[in-house]
Amino acid sequence: MTIRVNGEPTGVDDPITVHELLLRLDLPRRDVALAVDGAVVPRSAWEQTTLGPDAEVELVTAMQGG
């Protein structure tokens, strides 16, 4: 299935959990936070949260900024 990760269409296995997605795409897991479809998924729920088709995933971290 195709989901969007930080705006980029990304093909992934169906089903896939948030935790598996981060491992599969080799994305950082430290000092980051993640939202699915506009709602924060706390780190403690990453292994239980399954992504559906067309899920919009946002993964953010701290950068420079005033």
Partner: protein, 260 residues
């Protein structure tokens, strides 16, 4: 006499030794950021929240942690309350702090706050347990509403973000300082040290400087200058300045003049 040490800033049940908040936007590299944190002697450093990408430059977090200062995530770049609330929630999750500098801008040209969205977001975030530091205009009525909503400080702008124009309406800033019980942090517009001193003389409790430091020709040197200006302004404020007069007032006595 011995000059008394400046009182720490009390905000959100926390004491901050420094009254200069350092924004990291525009810093040329992380080594310079480390120098600026040291030279500014700041206790609080802002960061933005952005998408993770493979070609991201290094995160300032490591530098901030090594310096042992607190981090204040912002919601810069958000145009709506919905975006700002989500960004704040992500920041709390990523960084483990309930402090957030709330910015909701109206457009990319002026970067002025969108007051309707700002008040909406502030209310939601206070209700959700955040310690909210809102970037706002120099309008007293808005500042008062933000304080009434439960924001832990208000951060009025001196002039547009990044402009370096200083404090365009000092009377409006003074009116906010005189009227509110929560700390007032002058945010945006600082161009150089004297602007920061003026902010403190007007009654501000702290100053945030980003561009003025990070884009100065010598950032660490400017960080040191603005830090001293903040201290000088606070000291001058507490010393009680003389009233302004329309006419001259001789400082030397007239008695005992030659030929009198």
């Amino acid at each position: 006499m011995t000059v008394p040490a400046a009182e720490p800033l009390k905000v959100a049940d926390t004491e901050l030794d420094s009254r200069l908040f350092l924004g990291t936007g525009g810093v040329p590299n992380l080594a310079t950021l480390a120098e600026c944190i040291e030279a500014s002697r700041t206790s609080l450093v802002t960061v933005s929240m952005r998408r993770v990408s493979a070609d991201s430059p290094g995160s300032p977090l490591q530098v901030v942690r090594e310096a042992g200062v607190r981090v204040l995530p912002n919601t810069a770049g958000c145009f709506s309350a919905r975006e700002a609330v989500l960004t704040a929630e992500l920041a709390r999750e990523a960084l483990g702090t309930s402090w957030v500098k709330l910015e909701v801008i109206a457009d990319e040209q002026t970067l002025m706050p969108d007051i309707v969205e700002l008040l909406d977001a502030a209310e939601q975030l206070v209700d959700a347990g955040f310690d909210v530091f809102p970037y706002t205009t120099d309008d007293l009525s808005v500042a008062r509403r933000l304080a009434d909503l439960g924001c832990v400080a208000v951060m009025p702008l001196g002039s547009p973000i990044g402009s370096g124009l200083g404090i365009c309406n000092p009377r409006a800033i003074a009116a906010i300082c005189d009227s509110l019980d929560v700390p007032v942090v002058l945010d945006a517009g600082i161009g150089t040290a004297s602007d920061a001193a003026l902010a403190m003389e007007l009654g501000c409790d702290a100053v945030l400087a980003a561009t003025a430091i990070t884009r100065a020709e010598q950032p660490a040197r400017m960080a040191a200058a603005i830090a001293r200006a903040v201290e000088a302004g606070l000291l001058a404020r507490s010393a009680g300045r003389i009233p302004r007069r329309e006419t001259a007032l001789a400082s030397s006595p007239f008695e005992g003049l030659l030929g009198s």
